[in-house]
Amino acid sequence: MLSSQRFRFDGESTDSETTMYPAPFRYHRAGSADEAISLLAELGDGARPLAGGQTLLVWMKLRFDEPTDLVDIARIPNLSSIEHDDHQVRIGALATHGRIAASPLARLIPIVHDCANGIADRQVRSRGTIGGSLAAGDPSCDWPALLHTLDAEVLCQGPDGERTIGIGDFVEDLYATALQEGELVTGIRFALPPARSAGAYVGFKRCAPAYPTASAGVQLTLAEDADTCADVRIALGSAGLTPIHATAAEAELRGQALNETTIERAAEAAVAASDPVDDQRGSPAFKRAMLRVLVRRAVGIAIRRCNGESVEHSHEYY
């Protein structure tokens, strides 16, 4: 799941790439969130929480990270539930991508299925967790972009107690989040989309172990007349150093009739908000061209879903 690229700094070599075993570390298993938090506090800044391990273990094998201690939180009860009431959805941090994809929630809210079912491959999806993915702060991960689209809140618990952080404030920079030392992501919360609202999340990727080259999420609410956009959220993944909330693109659609012209304007605005990096997946110009297509496509699928059509979609290999 890791691109060596991102750890290369110009003028320097790609060092320590040919490792496959982590440096020695101590392993602890926490029985509860409280225990995990106190263990992390006690063990200091060399300790990391281990959930599904699909990012952390890879980093450790490549020696990008050499923690002294791992606090295994994977067996903490009650952190992997996927539930909703009439207003709100709540997903436990330890819910795996695979379980989310197979959940009744994913059937109810297709955009969640689009995202969860397209992450990496089946092996990764059955181990990797939504909380771990979010805490990694990787701009290419799918969940942060999706959760921006759904305007989610991140539930955290740390030595100072519990708090809720809006997704926009949670991811601060490349691999940097608002999490404090010893603080865990315990869950995700977002409002159940209202009637006449539906979304789509689409990504282009080269192969299963590669992150998407670019992705876009759109959550659209239609007005009574069914042709006008009442509300919309648009977010982009792999489009900059953090997921991008394309507010200018939203403004092109909100309150407007949905037609080729307005959608194209929104796509343009989304592209203008993006700042993709040059890497082995493509040049910035190429990624912008992809983002334009992705936004258009996501809006199109969202409109069809708003109108009650069932559209199967997931990441597209190219």
Partner: protein, 805 residues
């Protein structure tokens, strides 16, 4: 009942599916040590100091190895190149200088792989960085020289001049000039990485379990390198998870494992490569640039002459090179009747991973060049793709090429017809017209290619007249074992091609028994005495060399069995039939029920021989046959001679649509027609065609080794290199025709490499899609990002010019 030609279920699969195979990394033994190789992070640097003291102090570490120690214990590998490049000192570990990123600089053997890695990271190496040479044209300037002992980066240069090129250009109706084409660097990334287990015994021999795919050659490099006789090496392979040529030079790593075992006092040492090491430093395919190409054509678009300058980038060491400088000439005119060619060929080193033979080795690069040339000419002259091919194909066989190679058989127009039928050619022509009317970029491309098999190693002498190589050979040994079983040993060392199955089919037909009664030992083992210097699986030759050896061994064994049976049954040899009776395989007197079974025959020789007469004293029921194809040493002055025995052919058609907005090429339809002469096992052959096709599609659209300007490999993980997976593979319509080879006993031609068909075909389809946009397809790699960039910046005006009249 004949078994050859049937899709017999693979004998190998039973153990593989049940998890009972033995791949090298499966080997475990108490006390086994694990080797970690520390590799250079720099592409070009001087090694000032290597300090292993901290590594050696780590508990669990048995020993370390440094380049200086390796230089004391080893002799440099034989160099194949003539001239200054012969002075390149190639040792399994860098001594004073590293010349590519990933080159071994030190190693640690420890009680676990994890401890070895921890220790390896404690080794301190001081480097002084040097300027990197990352481009072949820059390399040839010799401003920075990689190998001081050679004094130049140029490895090899030669001119291949056939026919009367100047006259053909003087008489040409059209001359097309293409200033530059480039074939990119990729490899085959076999599922199983390189691995070996080595034990330097107290008797001074070395035991190897490994996955080398050309053990005949490896022994000849390893033994002198380690200062041993070849007989002191015991090399074994068992199950090997693919090679595609890439595992030919893992003898370099076998040497390091052996030296570590020696230093550790004879403990067994395992080295198992990880994927990033494989991508960085296990061998890449040859990268080639074609400059200043000029093509002469007559008024009908028939190619009459080509002159061109080819620069091959072989990476940091020569290893199997410069053989690639000649091997392409097995297919000099490709599938076309062109008689006049002048190719000025140069190879140079650069600070990249050394190259290794890679599926389609060297011929593919040249075939891609020829296909691009023909295809670009067709577009420039406005001749339809199929028509252009039909006007240029070779039609009479056997056909002697301008450089003396004999194409054994073929029928390219029939393959074209079949591929068209499979893909629905006429229908796609209509759809293309409609798509174009809508402004869509839809292209249809044809690629015709050759998979030349069974090398004449005499071609090495064209490259270096002093090399003591020529011809080719392969061995099979066969015996009637104590209990009457047929046991066959192969010299081929397969890597997944189903040799046990195919050999069983041949034996079954020869003895008129069931393939179930034939046991073919898995893998390769020098202790079987079933090898020659050419032994291995490479260059598409098993169906000819391996099976001819098996066939020959059958004849020898049968002759002995017939003599024995004739004596015991008191019958004439010619009255005996090989058949299967109630008690299993036997020899029977024709038209009677008098027979002798295999157990009885074997027992006579092995346990009960007092009754045998003196006239049967030479019968052992244990035979060895060496097959030698009928080759002559080529004329090295003229660079002329028959370089390969058989020429399997592939013809592919692709329909591709390029998304105008993002440049994404999408394959809408694909057909692949194969002609490998007589097919031994259709299912295995089809599997190889699908495999080669998918790999070629991956190579064209996804897989590429990209370096930055200072020599960092940017695609050193599968996330970046992106080998093709089932998620990217289009539905391939497969078909075949059979034009039996007149040069093999069974009519078969070697196959499996596939000649890079998809690289030619996808380039042609993209050309067809993008020609109207002013784009010339000048590279073999077409990532969507690259196609997108090309759409923004058409290149036809600067790439190609046409002079007519």
């Amino acid at each position: 009942m004949t078994w050859v030609g049937k899709s017999l279920r693979r004998k190998e699969d039973d153990r593989l599916i049940r998890g009972r195979g033995l791949f090298t990394d499966d080997e475990l033994a108490p006390g086994m040590l694990h080797l970690y190789i520390l590799r250079s992070p720099y592409a070009h640097a001087r090694i000032l100091d290597v300090d292993v003291s901290a590594a050696e102090a780590l508990p669990g570490v048995a020993c370390t190895l440094t380049g200086r120690e390796v230089a004391e214990l080893c002799d440099p590998y034989m160099q194949l190149a003539p001239g200054p490049a012969a002075n390149i000192r190639d040792l399994p570990m860098a001594v004073d200088k590293v010349v590519y990123q990933g080159e071994p600089v030190a190693a640690v053997a420890a009680t676990s792989a994890a401890i070895a890695m921890d220790a390896g990271l404690l080794i301190e190496v001081d480097y002084e960085m040097l300027d990197s040479v990352m481009d072949v044209e820059q390399s040839l300037q010799d401003d920075t020289v990689l190998h001081d002992a050679a004094g130049t980066n140029r490895v090899w240069h030669g001119v291949f001049d056939y026919g009367d090129v100047d006259k053909a250009f003087a008489e040409a109706a059209h001359v097309v000039r293409i200033d530059r084409l480039h074939f990119h660097r990729y490899s085959s990334t076999p599922l199983e990485n390189n691995a070996c287990v080595a034990e330097w015994t107290r008797q001074g021999t070395v035991e190897f379990l490994c996955n080398n795919s050309f053990p005949g050659f490896a022994q000849q490099l390893l033994a002198p390198g380690l200062r041993l006789r070849t007989d002191q090496l015991h090399i074994r392979t068992y199950d090997v998870g693919g090679s595609f040529g890439n595992k030919i030079w893992n003898y370099v790593y076998m040497a390091l494992a052996a030296l570590a075992s020696r230093k550790a006092g004879g403990q067994r040492v395992k080295w198992s490569e990880i994927r990033t090491e494989h991508l960085l430093a296990s061998g890449h395919g040859n990268e080639r640039t074609f400059l200043d190409t000029e093509v002469a054509l007559d008024a009908n678009g028939v190619l009459t002459a080509i002159r061109s300058r080819h620069l091959d980038d072989c990476g940091a060491y020569t290893r199997y090179e410069p053989l690639g400088c000649v091997i392409w000439s097995q297919v000099t005119p490709a599938t076309y009747g062109i008689r006049n060619l002048r190719i000025d060929f140069t190879q140079a080193v650069t600070n990249k991973c050394p190259v290794v033979p890679n599926r389609g080795y060297s011929r593919m690069q040249h075939l891609w060049f020829m296909e691009r040339v023909l295809d670009i000419c067709a577009h420039e002259l406005g001749i339809p793709a199929d028509e252009m091919r039909l006007r240029n194909y070779i039609r009479e066989f056997p056909y002697e090429t301008p450089n003396g190679c004999i194409y054994d058989s073929g029928n390219y127009p029939a393959m074209l017809d079949k591929a068209k039928a499979l893909i629905g050619w006429d229908d796609w022509q209509k759809k293309q017209a409609e798509a174009r009317a809508d402004g869509r970029l839809l292209g249809i491309g044809i690629g015709t290619t050759l998979d030349s098999g069974t090398n004449n190693f005499g071609q090495a002498q064209i490259m270096n007249p002093d090399l003591p190589f020529s011809g080719n050979s392969e061995v099979a040994t066969m015996k009637l074992d104590l209990e009457g079983q047929i046991v066959v040993c192969l010299g081929t060392g397969p890597s997944g091609q189903g040799h046990e199955t195919a050999a069983s089919q041949v034996v079954a037909d020869e003895l008129n028994i069931s393939p179930d009664s034939v046991y073919v030992r898995p893998g390769f083992d020098t202790a079987w005495n079933t090898f020659v210097g050419h032994s291995g699986t490479y260059a598409s030759q098993f169906a000819v060399t391996g099976l001819s050896a098996v066939h020959g061994a059958c004849q020898k064994l049968k002759a002995e069995m017939r003599r024995l049976a004739a004596f015991m049954l008191e019958a004439a040899e010619e009255d005996l039939d090989f058949c299967t009776g109630e008690e299993g395989p036997e020899l029977r007197i024709k038209g009677t029920d008098r027979a002798i079974n295999y157990w009885f025959l074997s027992n006579l020789v092995n346990n009960n021989n007092a009754m045998l007469p003196e006239s049967l004293a030479d019968v052992t029921l244990n035979v060895r046959h060496v097959y030698r194809p009928p080759f002559k040493v080529p004329d090295t002055e003229r660079k002329f001679g028959n370089l390969t025995l058989t020429y399997a052919a592939q013809l592919h058609i692709a329909v591709i649509e390029v998304d105008r907005e993002t440049g994404r090429p999408k394959i809408l339809a694909y057909s692949a027609v194969d002609d490998c002469g007589k097919v031994i096992n259709p299912k295995i052959a089809a599997g190889q065609v699908h495999g080669a096709t998918n790999h070629g599609i991956g190579a064209a659209l996804m897989e590429s080794f990209n370096y930055d300007e200072i020599g960092n490999l940017l695609t050193s993980t599968f996330s970046d290199y992106c080998p093709i997976t089932s998620m990217n593979i289009p539905d391939v319509q497969y078909g075949n025709i059979e034009t039996p080879s007149p040069f093999s006993y069974n009519g078969a031609k070697g196959m499996g490499e596939g000649g890079g068909g998809p690289l030619h075909t996808i380039a042609a389809a993209l050309q067809d899609a993008l020609f109207a946009e002013g784009i010339i397809i000048d590279d073999s790699h077409h990532s969507p990002s690259r196609v997108f960039d090309r759409l923004q910046e058409p290149n036809r005006d600067r790439r190609v010019s046409v002079r007519s009249g």
